[in-house]
Structure formats: structure tokens, C-alpha cells
């Protein structure tokens, strides 16, 4: 009888962020549907009450159903029978209960049987689901695909496909192939016109929930092309046949989520959006959503792992006392908690940026935006673009650090398969690999460094926010970290060698992230005293790491680069 929403006040805390007022008003178009639609909120309070109530349902299902099934799902996993995927029994039950509870199509408009929820509560739901079963979080989270269909497909396709998600149909995004992983420009799956209809031929690999009812498939529609401009996006409906599952991968973790190799043979499909924009526009949008989803997944796993570590440290007694009383253990736990609070804060900050710019994008389809609105849309889109990879990087890396430490706290027992922590550690390991490795998140996030976006946000927004007098010292440290970051950026960029910037990119992005997360926690501490500890601990930790990076960059000579090169 656990409820993952009500037992974790952090979620409600972030839901209560002051910017929600603006987000909800935009998403609900100033509550124009109130009175017209029986589930439309009447005002801000009514909408927030809806989010609260629905998150409570999700929290209950996560605690009572998903988490209860997680161990069995991890042990059993899905299998392939006659070219089709069969979920583990627990996975089937999870999906069925969430469908009955109406918890798919969460962010879609009501006209497509959606709940019209903003991204913030949707991402919160993703965090809760992942805390219970990260692997299942993928099957549930692939409802993101509907968001892409909603944004780019034509009206007829939207009407035909979108309501299906609410009826229990699942999605997949079929992007990667044996020779096209991080480099999606190399996709070869062929789309050709046969008697006026598109058909797909080829192989996809590493496809999460590959046997879904509806898939978005990236395929080469322009014969003779080799790069990303020859790729288009297609909607594939499994009911039309032509696709079989050749095998599913035997993974280290997220076992509940089937990772499939798919064979398409003259599989009928529909073009989604315009030809040639598949990779350069639609996949980028799809990936941004997925990266937010992985961030939420990582935070969910980290929450679960932190709780396991804390529980064990309190229960386990050695040398006559609970091990939590030893500095080596309590320091680990406090750092874990500070990192967890930090990445959660970054996750919801990013979600808010995405919410605002997305809402404007949809409003722009209904009426022209005025100058001020356009300005805001641009501003938040830019922020979302640089914050999305930053949060994915930090959340996934911290999830790994937190599960690593939580397992360490378990000692020998942690290495055995008797405790949930071993599953969480295995599950966390994928989060900094898929939807773009951490190295690729850095490639995306470095733009925030070189364009000065992060610095601008820090200086103009975070640095000027009020803080309690006794916490001013934290702001001083963060200011010092920001100055060090600025110096490091100019040192790395001054020689004008792009390879040197690439070489230092991760250090630079992390330095930006340390300051940003530190400021976010300081802000949280203003709204809730409870975050003061995490703010202080995180800033202390981040300051030491940032100082190390700064020292590395300061003492690095461009000629040193040669020594690192490998062939």
C-alpha cells in the first residue's frame, strides 16, 4: 500500500513552482474549454487539483502494482513467439492497469482523447513510473510518439492515430539500425512508392518496444542519397502487416522493456509530415522529448536507489552501531540526496521551459502570436534546447553515481541478487547511453556554452534572485564558480581550435551545470527550508569538482592535445 506520489513531497513541491500559473494558462488557453468540455478545468486551482489527483492515482498504481511486479518482470522479461513480442505477465498487468486508469495520452489535447496535461506533470508521472519499474517506464513513456504525430502529422492522421493510445495501443520509435546508432544520417531502411503507397523494406535494431501497434519509422525515401536529407518519417501501423520481430536483445537491465530487431518486408506505411524532414526536423523533436523522458527515468531510478541505500544504512549494524552513523556512509548518503534533489530541480526547470515554448508553438497554429509572445517563444525554445541535453547528461550520470553508491552501502549484499539495488544499478546504466550517450549530450550542450546561453541565464535570472541572508555565502560561492566557468570558456575558445573546444567540452558543460544546479537548489531552499541542506552540500561538492575542471583547463596547453590522441 505504497503511494509513490504522496510519499515523496518533492514532486508536489516542484508542481507548485510559481511558473506553473503561466504554463497552465497557456496550455489551457486561459481556460476557454471550461463549461464546454466535461473534463476541462475551470481555473488555475481546478487544473492544479486535477494534476494533484491524477498524480496520486499514478503514485498509487506505481507503489501497489508496478513496483510489486518489478522483480518478477526483471527475472522473466519478454520473449518472442512467432515473430511477435510477448510481454512478461507483470508488464501486461502494468499496462492494463495504467490504460484502465486513463494514464496514456496525457499531454495530448482533449479532442484526441488526451488529458491535455502540461509537460511538467507528465514528466512527474514518468519519474514515478520509472521509480517503480524503469524498464516499463519506456513502454509507458513512448506515448511521446503521439506528441510528435500531433505536432507534425496531418489532421486526418491525427484523428485516426491519436485516440488509439488511450485505448491501450502502444508506440515505438524505429530509428536505429545495425550501422546507424548515434549516427542516424546513415539510416538505410528503404521507403519506396509502390502504386502510390509507401512501403518499407529493411532492418531496424535496438528498437524499444519494437512490436508496438504504431511506430514512427525513419527511412530513406530519396533514392541515391546518403545523408540525413534523404530521410523521411513514416507512420507504420502493425495491423497492416509486413513487419516481424527477429529477436530481442538480452540486456544488462531494463529487462521489462523489449529491445527488438525488426524486419520490414514491403510493409505499408504513411508519410508523416514532409519528405526529407524526417531526421533534420521530426527526429530532433522526437529526441528532445525522449531525452526529457530519460532524464525523468534517471531521476526515478535515483530516487529508488537513494531510498534503498538509506534504508539499508539504517538497518545494517556493524561494530555495534547502524552503519549510517559512520561519516563515510552518511557523507555518501548526503551527497546522493543532494545530487538527487539537484537533478530533479534541473529536470523540472527544463520541463517548464519546454512547456512554455511548446504551448506557444501550438497556439501559433491557431492564431498569429504577437511580438511579445514570439519573443518569449524564442527565448524559451533556446533555453529548452540547451537545457534538455544538460539535464539528460546530469540526471543519467548522477543516477549511475547514486545507484553505485547505494550498492556500495549494501556491501557484499549489494553484489548479490537478493536486493532491489542490483536491479536499479543495472537499469541506471542505460540512461547515459541511449537517446544519445553522455558524450553526445555534451556535443548538444556545448552550444549553450559557446553561445553564452547558460551564462546569460545564470547572470540575468539566477544570480539576481533573492536569498535568505544566511544563505548569501552560497551565492558568493556560485558567483565564484560562474567566474571560473567564464574564464575556462575563454581559455578553451581563445586559440580558435575547434578540436580543443571539443576536448574540453565535457568539462565546460559540467562547470555550467554545477553552477546552474547549485542556483536551482538555492532557489528551492527559498521556497522550502528543507532544501537548504541539499543546496549547501551540493554547492560544496560542485565547487570542488568545478575547481578541478578549472585547474585542468588552466594548466592545459593546446600542444598537450597531441599526447591524448589515439588511432
Amino acid at each position: 500500500m505504497a503511494n509513490f506520489y504522496t510519499d515523496n513531497e518533492a514532486i508536489r513541491f516542484h508542481l507548485g513552482h510559481p511558473l506553473m500559473k503561466k504554463i497552465v494558462a497557456l496550455k489551457e488557453r486561459d481556460f476557454r474549454d471550461a463549461g464546454k468540455h466535461d473534463i476541462a478545468p475551470r481555473d488555475f486551482e481546478d487544473a492544479m487539483d486535477n494534476y494533484d489527483k491524477i498524480l496520486e492515482i499514478i503514485g498509487e498504481i506505481c507503489g501497489d502494482v508496478l513496483a510489486e511486479n518489478a522483480e518478477e518482470v526483471d527475472a522473466t522479461g519478454p520473449r518472442v513467439v512467432d515473430g511477435r513480442v510477448e510481454y512478461a505477465p507483470g508488464t501486461r498487468q502494468n499496462h492494463e492497469v495504467l490504460t484502465q486508469a486513463g494514464l496514456y495520452n496525457m499531454s495530448l489535447p482533449r479532442e484526441f482523447d488526451g488529458l491535455n496535461f502540461p509537460i511538467v506533470p507528465y514528466v512527474m508521472a514518468a519519474e514515478l513510473v520509472s521509480r517503480a519499474d524503469a524498464g516499463f517506464g519506456n513502454i509507458w513513456g513512448l506515448q511521446d510518439c503521439a506528441e510528435t504525430i500531433h505536432e507534425f502529422a496531418n489532421d486526418d492522421q491525427k484523428r485516426r492515430y491519436l485516440p488509439r493510445g488511450a485505448k491501450g495501443e502502444t508506440y515505438a520509435m524505429d530509428l536505429t539500425e545495425p550501422d546507424a546508432g548515434s549516427d542516424l544520417q546513415a539510416v538505410q531502411l528503404k521507403a519506396s512508392l509502390k502504386e502510390g503507397r509507401w512501403v518499407l523494406n529493411g532492418v531496424k535494431r535496438f528498437i524499444t518496444n519494437g512490436d508496438a501497434h504504431v511506430a514512427l519509422v525513419l527511412a530513406r525515401s530519396e533514392e541515391g542519397t546518403q545523408d540525413g536529407r534523404g530521410l523521411s518519417m513514416f507512420i507504420y501501423d502493425r495491423a497492416n502487416g509486413g513487419m516481424t520481430v527477429r529477436r530481442i536483445e538480452n540486456k544488462l537491465g531494463i529487462k521489462g522493456s523489449p529491445t527488438c530487431e525488426l524486419v520490414f518486408k514491403d510493409a505499408p506505411a504513411e508519410l508523416c509530415g514532409e519528405r526529407k524532414l524526417g531526421l533534420i526536423k521530426y527526429v530532433m523533436s522526437l529526441m528532445n522529448g525522449a531525452r526529457l523522458g530519460v532524464g525523468a527515468q534517471a531521476v526515478g531510478i535515483a530516487e529508488a536507489a537513494y531510498r534503498e541505500g538509506l534504508k539499508y544504512a539504517r538497518e545494517r549494524s556493524q561494530f555495534g552501531k547502524a552503519i549510517i552513523e559512520f561519516p563515510a556512509v552518511y557523507e555518501m548518503l548526503s551527497n546522493m540526496e543532494a545530487k538527487l534533489h539537484g537533478v530533479r530541480s534541473l529536470l523540472y526547470e527544463t520541463s517548464r521551459f519546454v512547456d512554455i515554448y511548446k504551448a506557444y508553438t501550438h497556439i501559433a497554429a491557431e492564431r498569429p502570436l504577437d511580438k511579445e509572445e514570439k519573443e518569449e517563444q524564442r527565448r524559451y525554445q533556446k533555453l529548452a534546447d540547451v537545457y534538455t541535453p544538460l539535464q539528460k547528461l546530469f540526471a543519467s550520470e548522477y543516477a549511475n553515481e547514486i545507484t553505485y553508491d547505494a550498492l556500495q552501502i549494501h556491501g557484499g549484499s549489494g553484489y548479490m541478487k537478493d536486493y532491489p539495488i542490483q536491479r536499479l544499478a543495472r537499469d541506471a546504466r542505460i540512461t547515459n547511453i541511449y537517446e544519445g550517450t553522455s558524450q553526445l549530450q555534451v556535443v548538444a550542450a556545448i552550444r549553450g556554452v559557446t553561445t553564452g546561453q547558460y551564462l546569460k541565464q545564470i547572470r540575468e535570472v539566477y544570480e539576481t534572485a533573492p536569498a535568505r541572508p544566511e544563505q548569501e555565502y552560497l551565492r558568493d560561492t556560485l558567483k565564484e564558480m560562474t567566474a571560473a566557468y567564464e574564464r575556462a570558456v575563454s581559455l578553451a575558445t581563445a586559440p580558435g581550435d575547434p578540436e580543443l573546444v571539443d576536448f574540453h567540452a565535457r568539462r565546460l558543460v559540467e562547470m555550467a551545470g554545477y553552477a546552474i544546479i547549485g542556483y536551482l537548489l538555492l532557489q528551492d531552499a527559498q521556497r522550502h527550508e528543507g532544501y537548504s541542506r541539499s543546496a549547501a552540500i551540493f554547492v560544496q561538492h560542485a565547487h570542488s569538482r568545478a575547481t578541478a575542471h578549472a585547474a585542468f583547463i588552466t594548466h592545459f596547453q593546446p600542444k598537450d592535445l597531441g599526447a591524448y590522441k589515439k588511432a
Binding site: 473534463i39 486535477n50 491524477i54 492515482i57 498509487e60 486508469a101 486513463g102 488529458l115 537478493d418
Partner: protein, 267 residues
């Protein structure tokens, strides 16, 4: 608990009795298999008990009735089943499904007594209810060692056992649709805005009946209609038994191993 041994309901939150949820699930399954049928819940209690009706509507019930009056205070199972059966006389229905028992008194008497008062056949300890033909139910009953299937003509009263299928979750859309539904007592202090909304959406008005809305004998209600007299209340503390018997299934052994590892008896 009050000094007279009756339950102080004012001090308790309104909660769904677990087996009533099993009963609701059976009703909702029957509704899904019989297009055109409807499910309504009837509950007796203070104004707060309207929450039970809303909770049922969040899961798919079409509506409900709150039976609420000070005259019902102190009712034992006999007086409760009398009041319920009088309210049921106002409602046209052919199947009454209720939980086997509530978690307060643990008597399992109300369902059978309602059936007696209505003069309807009853099936107790049900796990699964199906329609076997026009006007005939087929019910699987849980017995001490096994199960049996019985048939029963409609109208009937069926009490559902906790071993029946768990109730479906609350549905997000239904929660948003019905969360403003109120019974008369709850709506007493509501704003004009609220009544304007209810006017537009009549489904937000829950039916509430008091003693004047049902045809009944006042002497059979509440304390005066309750022959049960509580002599004394004692707290019983269950002592841990020294031995535990396992049947030897893998699941049980697995659970035992985990328990022993967790408390460091072994490992």
C-alpha cells in the same frame, strides 16, 4: 469507539470497505458484458460518505445514493439492513452486489439480511459473477477448501469475497469529470458558481435521501431498532506464534529465504 460500544463514525474518514471494491469490480464487469446496464452505489452514513459514491464513479459507476440521517445513528446490522432495504425499495434494480463484510464490525450480516428483507435469493462469498442466461446468474463461491459454482435467479443479492478480482483503478478522466459531484449536505455552503455549474451538469448532483425519503418505521431505525447490545470492548493483541507452517511452494520458500537474509539469520 463511543462509550456505548457503537462506532464513532464522525471520527473516521469515509473509506471504501475493501470487499465493497471487489463487489464494485464485479458490477462493472457485468455492466461491460451487458450493454445498456447501469451501476449505482448505495451507501449509508454521514455526509462525508458521499466520497464513496464519487470513488465508485471514478471507477465507472453511473451514480449513487447517499442515505443519511441522524435517525440512523447507532444502527446495528439489523437496523442498517432495514434502512438499506427500504431505500432499495425506491430503486429499480435486479441485482444487488455488496462486499462480504465491512472492516469495522466483521459480521458479514448486512448483505444476507437485506436479501431476507427484500425476499430475494442470496449468494454469499462470491468470487465471480456471470450472467448464465436471461434472468439467471452463475456465481463462483469461495469455500473453505475450494470453490463451487451455483446458479441463481434474478433479482438477487450477492455478497463478494475479498478473493475476487481486485477493483480497477480510478480513471483520470472520470476523476476530472466527477470530482465536483456533491450530495446535498456537502453542497450546503457551496458558492453560487457551484450551483451554476451543477445546473449545467446535473450529473454532479448526487442523490441524497433522509428518513423522510424512504418508507419506514422509525422504531426499527438507529439505536431503537438495534437489538445488539455491546457489553464490553477489549483490545486483543495477537501473539506471534512460535512455529509457522509452509506448504512448500517455491514462492513461499523464496519469501522465507529473503526474510532470513534480510534479518541476517543467514548470509
Amino acid at each position: 469507539m463511543k462509550a456505548d460500544g457503537t462506532v464513532n463514525r464522525a471520527a473516521l474518514p469515509a473509506i471504501f470497505n475493501p470487499e465493497d471494491l471487489n463487489a464494485l469490480e464485479q458490477a462493472l464487469r457485468l455492466k461491460a458484458s451487458r450493454p445498456g446496464s447501469t451501476v449505482h452505489v448505495l451507501t449509508m452514513g454521514p455526509g462525508r460518505a458521499a466520497e464513496i459514491i464519487r470513488e465508485a464513479m471514478y471507477r465507472g459507476a453511473d451514480g449513487g445514493y447517499l442515505l443519511s440521517d441522524r435517525a440512523f445513528a447507532g444502527s446495528d446490522t439489523l437496523a442498517t439492513s432495514y434502512a438499506l432495504s427500504r431505500a432499495l425499495a425506491n430503486i429499480s434494480s435486479d441485482l444487488i452486489i455488496c462486499g462480504r463484510q465491512a472492516i469495522d464490525g466483521d459480521t458479514a450480516q448486512v448483505g444476507p439480511q437485506v436479501a431476507e428483507k427484500l425476499g430475494w435469493p442470496q449468494v454469499t462469498y462470491a468470487e465471480e459473477i456471470r450472467v448464465a442466461g436471461e434472468g439467471v446468474l452463475r456465481v463462483r463461491r469461495r469455500l473453505e477448501r475450494g470453490a463451487e459454482e451455483v446458479e441463481c435467479p434474478l433479482p438477487a443479492v450477492v455478497t463478494v469475497n475479498g478473493s475476487a478480482a481486485a477493483c480497477r483503478p480510478r480513471n483520470a478522466r472520470l476523476v476530472m469529470k466527477y470530482k465536483h459531484a456533491r450530495a446535498a449536505q456537502e453542497a450546503q455552503d457551496a458558492s453560487e458558481d457551484y450551483f451554476a455549474m451543477v445546473n449545467e451538469r446535473p450529473y454532479l448532483k448526487l442523490t441524497e435521501w433522509n428518513v423522510n425519503d424512504i418508507r419506514c418505521e422509525a422504531s426499527e431505525l438507529g439505536l431503537s431498532g438495534s437489538p445488539t447490545k455491546v457489553k464490553a470492548i477489549e483490545n486483543v493483541v495477537f501473539q506471534a506464534k512460535e512455529s509457522r507452517r509452509l506448504s512448500g511452494t517455491d514462492v513461499e520458500l523464496d519469501a522465507l529465504m529473503k526474510e532470513l537474509i534480510a534479518n541476517h539469520t543467514i548470509g
